[in-house]
C-alpha cells in the first residue's frame, strides 16, 4: 500500500503524507476508511514510530485524516476543514508556479507544457471529482 523510497530526496515522513493523499485521490482509500494505526504502520514499514506519528499529526492538521481516541485513524471528508483547504490550495498554486518556471528553464514551449499537464491529468486525476 505505502512504499517508502529510501533513495528519494523527500524525507520519509513527507513521503508517507504524500502517499496517503495519493491513495485517497486514486480511490484506494475512501472517506471513512480506517488507516493503520501508528503502531501498525511502523511495524509494517519498519519505520521509526515517531516518524509515522509525525506524518499522522500533519495529516490530521491538514484535515486529511482524523483520529478518534481508542478507535484509530480514519480518512476524512475532503471538505471537512475549510481553513486547511485554503492553505493547501495556496501551497498548490505556489508549486504550480515553480513547475512553470522550471519548465521554462528546461526550454519547453507553452503548448508543450500544457500538453504535458493535460496528459497527466488524464492519467492521474482519478475517478471522482471532489465535491463542490
Amino acid at each position: 500500500m505505502i512504499q517508502i523510497n529510501e533513495r528519494s530526496m523527500t524525507p520519509i515522513y513527507e513521503q508517507i503524507i504524500n502517499q496517503v493523499k495519493e491513495l485517497i485521490v486514486k480511490g484506494g482509500l475512501r472517506e471513512g476508511d480506517k488507516i493503520p494505526s501508528v503502531r501498525e504502520l511502523s511495524g509494517m514499514l519498519l519505520i521509526n514510530p515517531n516518524t509515522v506519528a509525525k506524518s499522522y499529526q500533519e495529516l490530521e492538521r491538514q484535515g486529511v485524516i482524523a483520529t478518534a481516541r481508542g478507535k484509530g485513524a480514519f480518512v476524512c471528508k475532503p471538505a471537512a476543514s475549510p481553513g486547511m483547504e485554503r492553505e493547501r490550495g495556496e501551497q498548490l498554486r505556489e508549486e504550480m508556479k515553480r513547475l512553470i518556471i522550471e519548465a521554462r528553464h528546461l526550454g519547453m514551449t507553452k503548448a508543450g507544457f500544457k500538453t504535458w499537464v493535460t496528459d497527466e491529468v488524464e492519467r492521474n486525476w482519478g475517478e471522482q471529482d471532489a465535491d463542490g
Partner: protein, 294 residues
C-alpha cells in the same frame, strides 16, 4: 534517562572505551554503528552491568547501575545468542525471568510466541538461529524494561525472521521503550533510528537522524569543467565517495569555516546535484580511512 559519563574500559591492554559520553532519553530508537571490533559489544555489556568499567559511570535516572544493582531492572541486554538458556524451554525461561523482573508480561510473551509460531515447550538449544533471535527479543521485550540493548539483532538470520524481529521492535518503540541497536545494516537502521551513535577510536559521537537529511554535511554529484581541483578534493571539509568517469560523488561539510561549498560553486561546475545523504555516507565520512588520493 540513561546517562553514560566518561566511561572507560581497557581489555587485554587495549583501551576499548575511552571516556564515552552520551545521554539517551526515553522513547528513542538509537542505532550504534562502528567498525568491527570498535567496542560496541563492550559498551553494551558495560551498560548492562556485565562488565565493570575502569572509570566513569552508567546512570539510570542519576543512579549508577554498578553501585546500585537494582537499577538494572530498567536495562535489559539481549545478546546475539541465548546460550545461557539452552537447557530451558521458552516457557521455563519466561517463568525464570518473571521472577527476576516484576514487570514481566507473561501474556505478551506467550501470545507473541504463539503468533510467531514458536514452540513454548521445546528447549532453546533446539531452535534455529532465527528462532533463537526471535525468542531472545521477545523475552527481552516482555520484561517491559524501559531500555533494551540489542547486539546485532538481525545478524545472520533469514529475511522473514528479520522482518519479524524488526516489527516487534517497532511495536515496542511505539509503546515508549528505548531501543539501542547495534548493527552493520545501515539501510535498516536508517529507517528506524532517530539517533545514531558513531563509535570511533573508543569514543562516541551522537548524531540526530534529522541531520543527515538536511544537516551540515551534504552529498553532491559534481562534474568540473576542466581538471578536477585536487586541492579542493583533498581539503578536510570534502570527502570523495566515488568517481565514475568525470563524475565525482562528494561529501561536503557546509558548516566548516573554509567554505568548501562556496568554493565548489566558484569552480562553476558543469553539473552540481544535491543528493540525499544516507547513513552509509555518514559512516564513511566519520569512520573511513585516509583522504582521497587523486
Amino acid at each position: 534517562m540513561l546517562t553514560v559519563s566518561n566511561l572507560s574500559k581497557t581489555i587485554d591492554g587495549q583501551a576499548v572505551l575511552r571516556g564515552v559520553d552520551f545521554k539517551l532519553e526515553q522513547g528513542r530508537v538509537v542505532g550504534v554503528v562502528g567498525r568491527n571490533g570498535a567496542g560496541k559489544t563492550t559498551l553494551f555489556k558495560t551498560m548492562a552491568g556485565i562488565l565493570i568499567p575502569d572509570a566513569g559511570t552508567v546512570e539510570y535516572e542519576g543512579q549508577s547501575i554498578h553501585a546500585t544493582p537494582s537499577k538494572k531492572l530498567n536495562i535489559v541486554f539481549i545478546p546475539d545468542s541465548p546460550e545461557a538458556l539452552f537447557s530451558y524451554t521458552a516457557m521455563e525461561s519466561a517463568l525464570f525471568f518473571s521472577h527476576i523482573y516484576p514487570t514481566f508480561d507473561k501474556g505478551f510473551f506467550s501470545n507473541t510466541l504463539h503468533k510467531l509460531e514458536l514452540p513454548l515447550d521445546r528447549k532453546i538449544r533446539q531452535f534455529s538461529k532465527g528462532m533463537r533471535m526471535l525468542f531472545s527479543t521477545v523475552l527481552g521485550l516482555a520484561t517491559k524494561a524501559p531500555f533494551v540493548l540489542l547486539d546485532e539483532p538481525t545478524n545472520g538470520i533469514d529475511a522473514i525472521a528479520k522482518k519479524q524481529v524488526m516489527t516487534l521492535l517497532m511495536e515496542a518503540a511505539e509503546e515508549g521503550t528505548t531501543l539501542v541497536i547495534s548493527s552493520h545494516l545501515l539501510n535498516e537502521l536508517e529507517r528506524v533510528a532517530d539517533t545514531i551513535l558513531v563509535m570511533k577510536a573508543g569514543g562516541i559521537e551522537t548524531h540526530d537522524m534529522d541531520e543527515t537529511a538536511n544537516g551540515a554535511v551534504r552529498k553532491f554529484q559534481v562534474v568540473f569543467r576542466d581538471e578536477a581541483p585536487a586541492s579542493w578534493l583533498n581539503s578536510p571539509s570534502v570527502r570523495v565517495l566515488d568517481k565514475i568517469g568525470r563524475v565525482y560523488t562528494v561529501l561536503v561539510d557546509t558548516k566548516a569555516p573554509i567554505g568548501a561549498l562556496e568554493e565548489m560553486g566558484k569552480f562553476d561546475p558543469l553539473l552540481m546535484e544535491h543528493l540525499p545523504m544516507k547513513l552509509e555516507d555518514l559512516f564513511v565520512w566519520k569512520l573511513g580511512g585516509s583522504n582521497y588520493v587523486g
